[in-house]
């Protein structure tokens, strides 16, 4: 037990800095392979990890979609990366269009990006600037989208 505590303390006491976003092959909404790098190079944008079955994720993306047009005028851009596996992947397109979401959608059906970034739960949001992760946020409460929007303005 003591050793586990030591391990946890050791790993948590490390100071950390900015991390590079790995360049993995994801899929576009039709299942075609796409390099993540092609979407993230030379700009600042928000990556939001979500799934059709994740209530808070859908709430978060709904909330941002409501004001997306205004945000876009200020250079805001969001890519929604779906973690849906083959159980629910076919629902992604119907949901995105049904909800009329304005986002670029990428698919990560066997969670390779999640494994690289070592996060456990969705919703999980990153702000990426020139391929470097400059901000992370996990979970969603009504209104927490405002913080992401604020951060984006500061970091842009």
């Amino acid at each position: 037990m003591k050793k586990i505590v030591i391990l946890i303390l050791l790993t948590t006491s490390i100071t950390f800095g900015q991390k590079k976003l790995p360049n993995l092959k994801l899929q576009d909404i039709n299942g075609k392979p796409e390099s993540l790098y092609n979407f993230t190079k030379n700009k600042t944008l928000v990556l939001s990890f979500w799934a059709t079955w994740c209530g808070p994720c859908v709430n978060e993306l709904d909330a941002i979609a409501d004001q997306y047009e205004d945000l876009q005028d200020n250079g805001f851009e969001l890519i929604a990366i779906s973690m849906d596996d083959s159980r629910t992947k076919s629902r992604v397109k119907a949901l995105v269009n049904g909800k009329d979401w304005p986002y670029t959608i990428l698919l990560d059906p066997n969670q390779s990006l999640k494994r690289h970034l070592n996060f456990a739960n969705i919703p999980y949001v990153l702000i990426v600037k020139n391929g470097e992760i400059v901000y992370t946020h996990s979970g969603y409460n009504p209104g927490s989208e405002e913080e992401i929007i604020e951060k984006f303005k500061q970091l842009k």
Partner: protein, 553 residues
């Protein structure tokens, strides 16, 4: 002594991290879930050996130019959490490790890797810590991309089970070809998966008893995905060579059957409207790295991914009667050959500034799923079977869900859900009974000023069968975007047995910062099925404290 070794490994990695920090090439992930079980007359006194248990995962990934290396240490102290496989009971051990090389055309991985062919009907290795699944393959994998329209994967490995690997050896080949043009997206794929396990069958009295045993079982699949404009369709078919019948963990050497799967998805969507439907037929499609693992309750040694194709429900009462895919062929205790059925989803946005749409528009989502046993003639005493191609047998599960999401104004939002379902408990859980139920849920979320917010749920389940009616409520309050508390209760007030009209309450809080999350809670866990991503695990009733943390660097 082993402990020391691992501590040194960690220290080494940590110092390495500090060293390499300037280049930020090391990623570290830490997840811990600790539980302390208490005695509770409702969920039963705790009669296990260890009241304190924890699952801890330490993951390290290091990248340097085209190479990457990784290690996942796992610690189950004093043993794995309740209902996890006893194969995981190890104080500390190396779960997975890998070394990989990648350039534009070629990727090579040695050690443990995760892979999926097509939709996973033929092969999927993945990790789901909540379910206790990690069926990574240990061996070698090569990926080759001669052009960006064509790729090949070839792999060999044994599957992880606990801190060991399967007896069975897995061989795989996969290729994908992109034949898209400007107007149409057209993707095709072919896969092969072989399992070699030279296992001695149970009956070895004479040669005849093993006449149908072949150490190699092969599966082949083909798929095609088409999308054009608003329409798309995906078709996938799998054929599996003769695989021995497994009854109660025993391999029957003189009984082997072919398996197959067919899945068709089609959809239409445009701005404000989405429709998608999936048909699937599974016949004797369970596929395990070790034959004798067939049907094990911990979902260990699974080669392929056969999720239940139903809506994954958000609310606790809607997760009491949950379906899991029925792909196994069996004669004992029940005659089952597989499943057949479909599900359909419709998403529609009632436009803004209409009577039903209001100021913001109203989102409507509908799901209908219907699953049946695969119809077949069973000659049970001889263990022979004659399956029908497209005939629906006994109903296993039916579900109708309607969800309406409505934003009332800037600060208030409502979600209403109605679910009608039929669950054939006798056939799915191989126990008794059938359950028809209706669930209604209402969820309200409200924003205060300064990132304060709250969320409340009310739910009710009506049924005349099984454990009768339930009511549930949940309230959540967030002080800011970092700190939140919740309390909830599920009350089985309609249980025909008055001594079991139990409350299942839970309360706790969580703190989130920089993508890291810490949570504490206390409460009762209901006995039943825990399902994530269409895969379920049986959990027993328990009461206790939980602490969890997810941290990444």
């Amino acid at each position: 002594m082993h402990f020391k070794k691992y501590i040194f490994t960690i220290l080494f990695l940590v110092s390495f991290y500090v060293y390499s920090q300037s280049s930020q090439k090391l990623n570290i992930g830490l997840e811990t879930i600790m539980q302390y079980y208490v005695d509770d007359p409702v969920t039963g006194n705790f009669n296990g050996t260890n009241r304190f248990r924890s699952n801890n995962y330490f993951k390290f990934d290091y990248n340097v130019s085209k190479f990457s290396f990784g290690l996942q240490l796992e610690s189950y102290y004093s043993q794995a959490l309740l209902n996890y496989s006893p194969h995981l009971d190890k104080k500390i051990g190396i779960g997975t490790y890998y070394a990989a090389y990648k350039n534009k055309k070629l990727a090579v991985t040695l050690g443990y890797y995760y892979e999926q062919f097509g939709s996973g009907l033929i092969l999927r290795s993945w990790e789901d810590r909540q379910l206790g699944i990690n069926n990574a393959l240990r061996g070698i994998r090569l990926k080759y991309y001669p052009t960006n329209k064509l790729n090949f994967t070839i792999l060999y490995g044994q599957q992880r089970v606990g801190f060991k690997v399967s007896e069975g050896q897995i061989f795989g080949f996969d290729t994908n070809f992109d034949a898209s043009s400007e107007q149409i997206s057209l993707l095709m794929g072919l896969s092969y998966v072989g399992r070699y396990q030279n296992f001695k069958p149970l009956y070895t009295i004479d040669a005849d008893h093993n006449r149908d045993f072949n150490p190699l079982t092969s599966a082949i699949s083909g798929r095609i995905n088409i999308a054009q404009g608003h329409i798309y369709a995906n078709l996938e078919g799998v054929w599996k060579s003769k695989d021995n019948l497994v009854e109660l963990g025993n391999i029957i050497g003189n009984k082997a059957f072919y398996g197959n799967a067919l899945q068709l998805e089609a959809g239409y969507s445009k701005k404000g409207f989405g429709f998608t439907t999936t048909f699937r037929r599974l016949e004797n499609m369970t596929f395990y790295a070790d034959r004798q693992a067939n049907g094990n309750t911990y979902n260990e040694l699974i080669i392929n991914y056969l999720p239940a194709l139903t809506r994954q429900q958000d609310y606790s009462l809607a997760n009491i009667y949950v379906y899991s895919a029925q792909a196994k062929l069996s004669f004992n205790p029940l005659n089952k050959a597989g499943e057949i059925g479909y599900q359909t989803d419709i998403y529609y946005k009632i436009p803004k500034k209409t009577f039903l749409g209001g100021k913001y528009g109203t989102m409507v989502a509908l799901n209908i799923s219907n699953w049946y046993g695969l119809a077949a003639d069973f000659l049970t005493p001889y263990k022979r079977i004659n399956t029908k191609f497209l005939t629906f047998g006994k109903a296993y599960f039916k579900d109708f869900t309607l969800e309406v999401r409505k934003k009332l104004n800037k600060n208030n939002k409502m979600i209403y859900t109605f679910i009608h379902s039929y669950y054939n408990k006798a056939m799915v859980e191989e126990t008794q009974g059938e359950v028809k139920s209706n669930v209604v849920a209402a969820e309200w979320s409200h924003k205060f000023t300064g990132y304060k917010s709250m969320r409340a749920e009310l739910q009710h389940l009506w049924t005349k069968e099984d454990k009768g009616n339930w009511a549930a409520a949940l309230a959540e309050f967030n002080f800011n975007t970092h700190l939140g508390i919740f309390m909830g209760d599920m009350y089985n007030y309609g249980n025909p047995d008055e001594n079991h009209q139990n409350h299942y309450y839970n309360f706790g809080g969580s703190y989130t910062k920089n993508g890291n999350r810490y949570a504490v809670s206390y409460g009762r866990q209901r006995e039943g099925l825990l399902c994530v991503g269409g895969v379920c695990r049986v959990v027993s009733a328990a009461t206790g404290f939980t602490f969890s943390a997810n941290i990444s660097f």
